[in-house]
């Protein structure tokens, strides 16, 4: 293999830092595939979970337990008519979903899935993330304005006012986490995403528990603001379906509409990643200080395999519980194949976890470690993704004046207070 392919393997730098553009490109493609897959499975999970919250079954027909529903939807959307309303501004109408998608996808450049598992590590990482993800507002406003229709315009105005208001509280909450990174010998903090997690590693505490309850309050402010930022329930004023049919994307159809959905879900994943990186220790496994030693390392490295085994077991329970009728045969076989696939992944992970313990084995221990990093990061993000669904099922929608009141009169003063308090504690400790 060429030198630039092999030389990077085993490096402890991100491809961007190492200047290895080939691997950077590979990472970018992996991220695109991964995000698309995550959005599809999130789409399925959301419909399924919401249905069960409401004592329904949700999608059941397309594939076993509706597993092929997202693919069927994609094909349906592809074949739909691509309508541009007669009064719309054609170019702006065309460009709006692109802006939304670009803003949602470009932030993935700096998300650290592990100490070297990011496309690039920038010294302004978190500032870059907040800046680019807030460009999503532009896509929403432009889409609403270009449609030349009343519902999209009102939806776009509402959602831009909302996103912009919560952006402020969000930005201020982030500052208090950055202040915490400077509590080391040199006295200098960092804005780099990898650097922030490293700071938590060095201080041996997730920032959510730092200066209790200051870290926790900042985290809660961020967690509220990030739901509002992504226009999700209970802050989904932008697409309040009972008032505005679909908000800013009412006039969009087909794959153009699906770009908005893709951008929304990608943005949900990326803001969850910010929360995980800043407050929940990024790629660190839980209790890395308390429970250490090779025995605990082994136990925690078995977690990925155990997770996939659990998923496989759920699939097999589904196979057993299917009705014994001939018309369910195809679905049964499909689900069994899916279960075996999950079981195979679990087996692979188990082999890596067992064989990758010692150095010099056939599978280097760095592979084992990398899987651990990525697993813990994704698990934490997955918890947030489930919370997004749970919020939607549980809470009624806010009224617009309540929404603005919470943003400006509650969250903004709280995050400013937490910021000042963190600065005082940080100064006193030095």
């Amino acid at each position: 293999m060429p030198d630039f392919v092999t030389s990077y393997l085993g490096s402890t730098l991100t491809p961007g830092e190492a200047g290895n553009q080939f691997w950077a490109l590979v990472y970018v493609f992996v991220i695109f595939a991964g995000v698309s897959l995550a959005v599809m499975s999130m789409n399925w999970l959301e419909r399924k979970a919401l249905a069960h919250f409401q004592i329904r079954l949700g999608p059941m027909r397309t594939g076993p337990h509706g597993l092929l529903q997202p693919i069927a939807d994609a094909i349906k959307l592809l074949l739909k008519e691509d309508i541009i309303p007669a009064g719309a501004d054609r170019f702006v109408f065309w460009v709006a979903p692109l802006i939304g998608l670009l803003a949602a996808f470009t932030v993935y450049t700096v998300i650290p899935f592990g100490p070297s598992q990011a496309v690039s590590d920038m010294n302004i990482g978190i500032l870059f993330m907040l800046g680019v993800s807030s460009l999503g507002v532009l896509g929403v406003v432009v889409a609403g304005w270009a449609s030349n229709s009343n519902y999209p315009l009102i939806g776009a105005l509402r959602s831009s006012a909302q996103m912009v208001s919560y952006e402020v509280a969000m930005g201020l909450a982030v500052v208090s986490a950055i202040l915490m990174t400077s509590l080391n010998e040199t006295g200098t903090g960092t804005l780099s995403m990898i650097g922030i997690v490293r700071a938590q590693q060095e201080q041996g505490v997730w920032f959510i528990f730092k200066f209790f309850p200051l870290g926790l309050i900042a985290f809660i402010v961020f967690a509220i603001a990030m739901v509002a930022e992504t226009n999700r329930a209970p802050f989904d004023m932008a697409e309040a379906e009972s008032e505005l049919t679909a908000g800013y994307h009412t006039e969009y159809s087909g794959l153009r509409w699906s770009l908005f959905m893709l951008a929304e879900y990608a943005a949900m994943i990326s803001v969850s990643s910010i929360a995980v990186t800043l407050w929940l220790g990024g790629w660190m496994r839980p209790f890395s200080r308390l429970l250490r030693g090779s025995a605990w390392d082994l136990i925690f490295s078995l977690f990925p395999a155990v997770t996939f085994m659990g998923l496989a077991a759920v699939a097999f329970v589904g196979v057993v519980r299917m009705p014994r009728r001939s018309d369910f045969k195809v679905q049964k076989i499909g689900l069994a194949v899916f279960g075996w696939l999950l079981g195979f992944i679990a087996l692979m992970l188990l082999i890596i976890a067992i064989a990758g313990r010692s150095n010099g084995a056939a599978i280097p221990s760095t592979v084992n470690q990398s899987i651990g990093y990525i697993y813990w990061f994704l698990l934490k993000v997955a918890v947030f993704m489930y919370l997004f669904i749970w919020y939607r099922a549980t809470w009624p929608r806010y009224r617009f004046d309540q929404l603005m009141r919470v943003g400006w009169k509650v969250l903004l003063p709280i995050s400013l207070t937490v910021l000042v308090a963190t600065a005082i504690v940080g100064i006193l400790l030095s």
């Binding site: 074949l79 690039s120 449609s147 400077s182 617009f400 004046d401 100064i427």
Partner: protein
Amino acid sequence: MPDNYFARYLPLLMHFGIATVLASIIVTLSYLVGQHKPNIAKMSPYECGVQPIGDTRGRFSVKFYLVAMLFILFDVEAVFLYPWAVILRELKMFGFWEMMVYIAIVLVGLFYVWKKGVLDWGLIAGKRGDI
């Protein structure tokens, strides 16, 4: 490390380019594959079956402009805080008090806006008659 400074930001450009190409392909694909049978009802803006009257590019509540202006003020404040947060412990008390003065000035602005009722929407604002 100034030597690979450019290399660090190059993946960003790659990422941006690939995202643009991907999104364009999706939109073009949907244009090519989907059917095209336009008619007057389909091309008119959706308004729950009612004939839309006039153009929507009219005037809307001034409150949205105010919120946008406030956002710029406060977000610029937040951006000023980022570099300060990084080197606060090097600046020691001087940097701390400097920023406290700055935050206090911005807070005075917030309370002024608050008392003026810019942050009130709906009923409260309606009673005062400044919607």
